[in-house]
Every structure is written in structure tokens, then in C-alpha cells.
Subunit: 254 residues, 2 copies
Amino acid sequence: MGYVLAIANHKGGVGKTTSAINLGTLFALTGRKTLILDLDLQGNATSGLGVRKEDKPGLASILLDNAPLADVACPCYCDDLFVLPLGRRSSAIEEEIRTQPLLMERLETILDQIAAAWDYVILDCPPAFGILPNTAIRQAQYTCIPVQCEFFSIEGLTAMLKRLQELQASGARSPRTGVVLTMYTATDEHSSQVRAEVERHFSSLLLKSIIPRDPILSQSAGLGIPAVIQAPESLGVRAYLELAWEILNHERQE
Amino acid sequence: MGYVLAIANHKGGVGKTTSAINLGTLFALTGRKTLILDLDLQGNATSGLGVRKEDKPGLASILLDNAPLADVACPCYCDDLFVLPLGRRSSAIEEEIRTQPLLMERLETILDQIAAAWDYVILDCPPAFGILPNTAIRQAQYTCIPVQCEFFSIEGLTAMLKRLQELQASGARSPRTGVVLTMYTATDEHSSQVRAEVERHFSSLLLKSIIPRDPILSQSAGLGIPAVIQAPESLGVRAYLELAWEILNHERQE
Ligand SMILES: Nc1ncnc2c1ncn2[C@@H]1O[C@H](COP(=O)(O)OP(=O)(O)OP(=O)(O)O)[C@@H](O)[C@H]1O
Ligand SMILES: Nc1ncnc2c1ncn2[C@@H]1O[C@H](COP(=O)(O)OP(=O)(O)OP(=O)(O)O)[C@@H](O)[C@H]1O
Ligand SMILES: [Mg+2]
Ligand SMILES: [Mg+2]
């Protein structure tokens, strides 16, 4: 059974997709067969991994048109890394699930099949709650919450954690949650104040790794190449390397 | 009848709330009675204007508990500026509207009453489509789409504009749309490339004003004071001043 890691936060632009792409690539480079599931309509994880998503089948095609999983997962930069886009008819998926209750069961079965077929599954969630991200979070063993070092990002965090706990309580396993600070600028007073605030109020969940603001991370998004491959020596990638080991160590302790 | 301006983009973290707060404050400083409607569960617009939102009534209380509008709009930094939080029971609001069809009509009536009671109404939308932002966008005369100068932000823009046109087509008026570049760093190559890309593909919608990346804008969020009031000479505020005039001029041409 694979290890399912959800990356979620309904605050927008905090580094969810950037974390999914770089953690996924790092897991794959250690020889673990890894799938990144792009649950966001915009498909940033798909394009950030260099896969053109125009009209490619994806999760929506598996769920609504019975497409086989093996046909739709797209290989990317290294042998063990794949991405599953949301695919055609993705804008209709939530409405279809709401109107056809049987689809909900089918979605859960598909997510279980996906977890069984890969060593690691990383869920890149959109910046909102909804049927799709909620179902995915319920199936995850670990939920990682990126928090940008900006005031607006910490504001909704307590309410977000509470809703996350409610979602996880209705899931099968006893999941773990970790908060990771992103886009940290040590020389910026505001950034340091937000870090201190998160350390004070969320210390039990806060991971040790801190992702710095690093322009290389956004440039690599534009190239469609994970920063881990494009600029392995960069500060941003080194921080993601630390984060990957921290999460893998959590898993080993279970 | 007031002028309703929606600020929307389902890409997260592009500067929607920051634009709503600073444009709203600028409109109010010119003597126009202005309301900022916070449609995001996180309530960043409410706290960014210095209003503590714990359990304060808001739009949800007007819609679900018949609270009077005049009682729930909160005054802020200057005489003509008010903010309307989403309020208590806000996490249930979408579900309640979905299950009680009459509420939809009531929401549209309330939005009309709000437009009639203020000179300017600015809608700060969450980073996702949904019943609430969709209804608000349908009522708006103008929709402003902030686009961060980063690759991931331009990726979903074409699809977002298409869905916006579908929403507007079912609304009453012939609305206008404007795209504004945000968090632009002239010395950053990636930022300039994204700007050139937007100028090439979206020139008919692109506004002339460009909002630079300015740490003062995020610091003021942490203080709960609009940057327009806290640092009126800053680069960020000067750019918002240009944007405010550009939008007001659009309105005058109608
Ligand atoms: N550590 C970093 N340093 C610099 N830029 C970053 C960093 N992490 C992410 N970015 C950039 O910031 C923007 C937001 O990041 P990203 O899109 O990964 O966030 P998200 O939470 O997935 O957004 P959304 O809520 O829209 O899904 C992107 O343009 C990305 O390239
Ligand atoms: N021009 C700017 N320069 C520097 N920082 C900015 C600028 N505009 C916004 N910010 C900061 O960037 C972050 C994202 O901005 P903001 O929260 O306004 O975006 P949003 O689109 O409303 O996000 P969401 O999608 O979560 O609603 C905030 O922490 C804000 O303080
Ligand atoms: Mg994302
Ligand atoms: Mg916002």
C-alpha cells in the first residue's frame, strides 16, 4: 500500500504546487515510484512537470468515462515520476459527483487503487475545500500545510486546521499533519514576525525545514522542469531536500 | 445605483484582497461611499481593514438570520469606507443556498440592495468558483483580474476568462473586464517575461497600471491598516492610485 501525502491550504499562492512538484521529484529520485495527482482545475502541477495538458485524459476520464489508470498517468523527468492531470471534463467533475451519489464511492475506490499502484502519491490540492480535495485529504496518511511567511497566510490557519481535523476524523487512518513555512526571507522583518507567530501558536505541528523565497523555484515553473532537476544546488532545492527527509522520517516512525 | 466592481481570479495569492483594500480606500478618500464585501471564508479583507471578525455578523447573517444590512457593515479608517464580513455561519452558506433554492433569489436581492445603498461596492472573491462569488460576479459592472507576474498565474488565465464570460453573459448588464499585472519586479527576468507574455496574449484587456512587488503592501496587511493610509508615498500605493483612476475613467466613459 502506497503512502498518500496531501498538500493543502485554502489560502491561495502559498507554495502547494511548488512543494508537490519538488517533493515528488525527490521521492522519485530515491527510487520510489511516485505519482503526483493534480487536483487543481488550473493544472499548475501538470505544466510545472512539463506535461502539456490540453485535452489529455486524466482523473475525470477515469471517473466519468472509465478510462484505465495505466493509460492516463503521464511519465515525466525521471523513471519513477508520473503526473495524473485532472483531465477533460474536469470543470464538470464536482457537479457530476454531487448529482450522482454512486460516483463518490467510485472516486474513493479509484483513489485506493491509485495508492496501491504507487509507492508515493502526492495530492496537489486547489485553494478551496470541495468534494474532490476533501475526499483526497480523507484518504491521506499525511497532510502537509505550506504557510507563506505573510500575515494573510496565518490568519485563516486555525480555522483551516480545525476543518482539516474534522475531515480527517471521518477518514480511515490516524493521519498526521505538518505545517511548513514557505517563501521565508530572513532579512525581511515582516517575514520574521510571521515566523515567530507560527512558532508560538503552532509549534506542535511545525516542521523544522523552512523553504526560503528563491526565484529559481518560480523560474523552473516557467520552464516546466522541477527545480530539483534544473537547479539542484539552489537554496530552495536544498530546503525541499530537508523537508523530504523530515517527512520520510515521520513515516518511518509510524 | 452604485457601481459594483468584482476582483476575482481563481489562481491563489495574486493580490485580490490587497487590491480590494487599497482600491476601496482610495475610492472612499474621494468622498464616494464605499463598501468592501469580503466573500472569502478566511476574511483577509476584513482583518486587513483592522476589523476583528470573531463571530461578528455579516452577509451570512443577513441572508440566513434576516439581520439588517445597516447593522452589520463595519466602518473603518475613513468616514466613507465600510467592510461587510462573511460573518457567522459562513462555512455553511454555500450548502444552505444549494439546499434551499429560495435563498438564491434572496441573495440576489440583498446584493441589489447593497449596490443601491453605496456609491461603490468592491467584491473581494475567494480563489475558487462557487455559488457566492459566481452570483456576485454576475451582478458586477466591472471585473478586475489581478495576475501575478509569475508563470503559474498566466497558465489558467485563458480558461478563467472564458468561464468569466459565461458567467457575465447570464448577468443583467454588459460588464467590462480588466486585467492588472501585480507583484511585478522590473529587475527580475522571469517577471519581465511573464509581463511580455500577458501583453502579447491579453493586450485588449490589459490595464496600463502595473502594481510592483512592494513589501509595504504586505506589512500593512499585518498591521490591519490599508497601505493607502499607512504609507501613501510608497511605490505600491502610487500604482494603486493610477489603477483607481484608470478604473474610474472606464466608468465615466460608459
Ligand atoms: N519558495 C519560493 N520562492 C519563490 N517563489 C515561490 C516559492 N514557492 C512558490 N513560489 C512561486 O509563488 C507562486 C505561488 O506558488 P504556488 O503556485 O506553488 O502556490 P499554490 O499554493 O499552489 O497556489 P494556488 O493556491 O493557486 O494553488 C508561484 O508563482 C510559484 O512559482
Ligand atoms: N504588490 C505586492 N507586493 C508585495 N506583496 C504583495 C503585493 N500584493 C499582495 N502582496 C502580498 O502577497 C500575498 C498575497 O496577496 P493577497 O492575499 O492579496 O492575494 P489574494 O489573491 O487575495 O489571495 P487568495 O487567493 O488567498 O484570496 C499577501 O500576503 C499580500 O500581503
Ligand atoms: Mg497550486
Ligand atoms: Mg484574498
